[in-house]
Amino acid sequence: MPSEQKYTGPMERIDANRWRIPKSYKPGMLVDGIIYADDRLIEAITSDKSPEQVANVACLPGIVRASLAMPDIHWGYGFCIGGVAATDPEQGGVISPGGVGYDINCGVRLIRTNLVYKDVRDEIGKLVNTLFDTVPCGVGKGGVIKFSKADLRKLMNDGSAYVVKRGYGWDSDVEATEAHGRIDGADPETLSDTALDRGKDQCGTLGSGNHFLEVQVVEKVDDPKVAAAMGLIEGNITVMIHSGSRGLGYQVCEDALKELQHVPGKYGISLPDKQLVCAPVHSYEGQKYLKAMRAAANFAWCNRQIMTHLAREAFHDVFGVPAERLGMNLVYDVAHNIAKMEPYDVDGKTCQLCVHRKGATRAFPAGHPELPERYRHIGQPVLVPGDMGRASYVLVGLQGSMEQTFGSSCHGAGRRMSRGAAIRASKGRNIKRELAERGIVARARGRTGLEEEQPDAYKDVVQVVDVLHNAGISRRVAKLRPVGVIKG
């Protein structure tokens, strides 16, 4: 990374897992920036300008407590990836589309199975090929299920339940999805025709970039009781799907950023970065974006729901046993690019805050009323994809998340290499073969997909989850090892 792209501002250690950028660092900062990292991770984090973005977010009106970043933080646009910011609408707090990102409700879901590794070991090539052919992925690849614009509007209003009702899933899937796969307050009428055009044949498609579908094996269980409640058993096979709201969501963000260009000036808000454009939550402009964002979020849950259905069909085809008998239940589905109104205690008073999670996962603790009944006694599953060669993690939310991070944890390992650097590092290597040598069968639609997403391009997810485990934000439950990878 060239030196001019390094962060050179202040970084004060708070404790073994946290670092502070004091609000005195730059004019306009209303609160401190706090980054969750240990000694090893902070070095990588300061090698790009993501801490500068943490400081910029601290300038947003109405921000409460601190501008936060999880240990998988890396350089984004406007907000860093891995950023969490809560604003108080009653104190002029804003909503910023950049704090959600283009891929609204990009998220992860995990499906468990009764299959054990030896059941799939000899079939893994066939399974990966069948999944690759069944779940549309890659640039310009449309979905197998088409929706009219009228259907799309219903889908965005009703969320996951709409596609389940049409046969693409089970009722229990809805129960195991964050917010039951539907955020209240969506208004599909606020979306542009362009957004609907982009979305009409993309529901049920994976996309490309870092989106993936993985077949995994539960390699290690750290918390047997909690893992059992989630249906996770050592040696069993799981399926993880990472995707979001596709072109529809990108267009909602694009439209909002354009419409909001002059809005900060209208409300007397001065910003350090154009990509941070925002509007007061209570303003007409803020409400319009929130209604559209919620519609796109509901679309994303439908997208992952349809892919779940397609993955179950692929397993049925390969193993000749219906998905129900394979026990392919949804463990959980979490959003990691979203803004939600959530109640938090601020100075002894309960306030409804607008919590932006840009590459951060909700991590509610046991007892939280928003959790499904089956998880209320253990806490929310937190799904943390790592990289395609090493591991992913299932964690569980802890009370510390409510006290420190507005109920948030990390969303992945976080990139440590740019795409270009990853391609350069792949010269003379065959990533597909390297993965095969580790027992992982991988297929990618894009020519450079495996190179750009190679394991070395990411931080070690173990280091990332350890920081949040040690900070009391989320606890390790199970480690998942990839055995089959589909990339767009």
């Binding site: 646009y77 283009y102 290499m417 270009g420």
Partner: protein, 143 residues
């Protein structure tokens, strides 16, 4: 450094995304290499023979934002209609207006190579600046 008199582009690293830097002698000259740079982030896009006219005309206060808006429009045409820019007929690019008349062709998937999906052309580090002998534009695409 690429000769600023010769319209050209280069891709540069940005942690999870990609950056494009473009040079040309004139503001109008930035349009073609900027479009080529955008397409290069997606892959190697071969166009078919059918041609459709594209007319883009937008006014604004920031020329970098005008360029971004045009590139966003090209991205939309690619994703929604599977079309790419093939020929530029006329370009008027000033500090407050960008007008482009151009031809687009259907992307021939058989002859194209796709690397990755681009979600958007962002405002992040978006810039057009004057350099010796011309202009330099920078934009970041979200992958």
């Amino acid at each position: 450094m690429i000769n600023a008199m010769e319209p050209s582009y280069e891709l540069f690293d940005h942690t999870a995304d990609m950056g494009v830097r473009v040079w040309a002698e004139t503001l109008s000259g930035l349009i073609k290499p900027a479009a080529e740079g955008l397409y290069a982030t997606i892959g190697e896009l071969a166009a078919g023979v059918d041609a459709t006219h594209l007319h883009f005309d937008q006014s604004g206060e920031d020329r970098a934002v005008l360029l971004r808006d045009f590139l966003s429009h090209l991205l939309l045409l690619f994703e929604r209609d599977h079309r790419r820019l093939t020929d530029l007929d006329d370009v008027v690019f000033s500090d407050c207006r960008l007008m482009v008349d151009a031809a687009t062709g259907l992307v021939d998937a058989e002859r194209s190579v796709f690397h990755r999906e681009v979600k958007a052309v962002t405002y992040h580090e978006l810039e057009i600046r004057e350099i010796a002998g011309g202009f330099e534009a920078t934009f970041i695409v979200d992958i």
